[in-house]
Symmetry: C2
Subunit: 220 residues, 2 copies
């Protein structure tokens, strides 16, 4: 058995499940965002900044994907929104089957916005939709500005690029222009923003985008 | 088809190929090191510091694994050692079949030390041996000190932990002790060193370890 053909079968099967899941989201009026990045780019930190900034009228929930353990889910408990922890058991990405299994109809009926934190990985999560309406890729400035060229599928399929940890820029050889331009060669016009959870830079812009996906752009 | 069972078949098949490849390495007197980490932890930068520091008596070669393109292989060309570039075609790790296919008997006969830079990923490369004699995992301080707990298999199976980009420590909330202790709970006694390619810290220690794996500890 060859990896690539095996993965193609799995990707194909996942597409059907993701379409069914998206139909369930739509039927319940839930908008879903798939948040992806390499390990340690700041996905959980961004969620911890996002949840308290959401207007009370938006009922949010989080799906936390981890290969093992539930450290990230624990980190988000203080924010008072439902968190579904999915442990993938060494699978390197979330898939639609797992997210479908985690979310009952009752759970979906209680939500307006679902934030899905995928497993930290710049490769396979790009191939496995979880029924999301929008995809975000985070790229930390510590990872280097060559990542869009090296992991193109993730950037080709993104709806937003968030350059994270920009407070570290003075200490690194990272060109924001190089990274953004490389990503836009893969996806023309890809929106991009610079963010630092430490300084707060970019959080307003991020919240405006998120509320736009949630269908509430006027509330920002 | 279920991802996990499909991956188990692939891991099992890979084990056989990896044993065959290791036997070929041994027959040719080649020692192989599998270098793994998340994207952007500094694998290529470390190789760029390593190659010029190797004694002339060690004939080194590099295998560069990338999902697409050959940016890293290009970066290493100036160092005058053979570089075999393997493009995995969106597979999130190198496998023994790919490395076997890249290295002829003639190539192996010309080498003493093979440095394999795996695809940037903290998950699947841990499950797919490429016939190596030793495994290194790099963890950049920008990624956070919780990574061993979140991606345990990679650290359980490592022979050396290299904490990279430690020049950034003053700007980050990263506890080296926390990361090293977490890794050692997964693999008792795991050797660990702190490294910065920017300042040169840790490079002597890294070279001593590498020469030890190469069977030339006296030359350091």
């Amino acid at each position: 058995m060859h990896w690539i053909s095996a993965e193609h079968d799995l990707v194909h099967e996942n597409e059907h499940r993701a379409e069914e899941l998206r139909a369930r989201f739509d039927a319940c009026g839930v908008r879903a965002i798939n948040i992806m990045s390499a390990p340690g780019s700041g996905k959980t930190s961004l969620l911890a900044e996002t949840l308290p900034r959401l207007p009370a009228s938006i009922r949010a929930g989080v799906v936390e994907g981890d290969v093992r353990g539930a450290l990230d889910a624990e980190r988000l408990k203080p924010y008072g929104v439902p968190v579904w922890s999915i442990t993938t058991g060494d699978q390197c990405h979330l898939d639609a089957r797992q997210v479908t299994g985690a979310l009952s109809d009752q759970a979906l009926a209680s939500l307006d916005l679902l934030l899905v934190e995928n497993v930290g990985n710049l490769v396979c999560p790009a191939s496995f939709s979880v029924g999301e309406h929008a995809r975000v890729v985070l790229l930390s400035v510590a990872e280097g500005d060559d990542k869009p060229e090296k992991y193109p599928l993730m950037f080709e399929r993104a709806d937003l690029l968030v350059i994270t940890k920009v407070d570290l820029l003075p200490h690194l050889d990272f060109s924001v222009d190089h990274a953004v331009n490389a990503a836009r060669r893969l996806r023309a016009g890809l929106p991009a923003l610079q963010l630092s959870c430490k300084t707060g830079l970019g959080l307003n812009e991020w919240m405006a985008w998120t509320l736009g996906v949630a269908g509430r752009p006027a509330e920002r």
